[in-house]
Amino acid sequence: MYGNGLRTLSIATVAALAVALSLVAFYAPLESEGFVQKIFYLHVPLSIVALCGFVAGGVFAVLHLRSGDRRWDAYSYVCIHLSVIYGVGVLITGSIWAKASWGHWWVWDEPTLVSFLIVFLMYATYYPFRYAIEDRDQQARYASVFAVTAGAFVPLNFLAVRLAESLVHPRVFATTDGGLPGSMMLTFLVSLVAMALLWVTLVKLELTAKSASGQLKRLRRALDAPASGGSSRVAPEVS
């Protein structure tokens, strides 16, 4: 069920990534910062998709708490899992960009950087928190409460950062002194769509693997077969 349309989605993702990379390399103009600004088309879409993924994880957690359906918990888990991976990409590409532009790998008094690090570290605690609870129902419930609370914190944190005074980090989509020129905006939007498609594809792939694993366990129980020596982690499953 979860594998339906995965092939089409994968092809669309590869095509979108290829178009985005081509636009970044051959179409997007160089601005005052020079060639290093090309990292923008990777770093910013990654961060936007990661933050939206955290919020999506919170929304699925609300659905789980309302309905008690474990499927929503698995969706929430996978959304957060993929967003944490994207978060790693955001932090590394951001550090590389910072080193190239400002001469430092990290600037501790910059609200944008520190706030993203706080969000990332908060979600990094999701795994030990989740796996510390053995009872599956309790684990799913507590993890959903965490996902809802943290998911609500993400937009609040974003707003707080926008209101704070920036020291060095640019506010690209500022409303006062204009936004991006057309060609840069087009490249950025295509990159954003490509990153979002990649995220959706990976979420679907992860859910497909979890579904297959869950169905395999059900089959093993139905056949009364001996347990295999596979993973003993109490990860959420979908059937």
């Binding site: 060639f35 990292i39 093993r220």
Partner: protein, 85 residues
Amino acid sequence: MLLAIAKTLPSDGTSKYVAAAYIVFVVLLVVYVAIMAAKLARIERELRELAGFAEHRANGEGAAEADTAADSPAPAEAEEVTSNG
């Protein structure tokens, strides 16, 4: 395409940072896909084991049924035994 992109890189020091950022992204993606491939390989192996177990059990049950049928007398023989007394 990658070769064409490589030709667009300027010779100044900033190009290495841009290349590094994009390489980090590709490496992350490759590592993730490799982990997923390992997971799917494990599922496939477990499925094969389970199929083997199910087949073995089905064969065992079939053999047991055949043994039971061989041990019990045929209807005609049973009738004969009863009539003979």
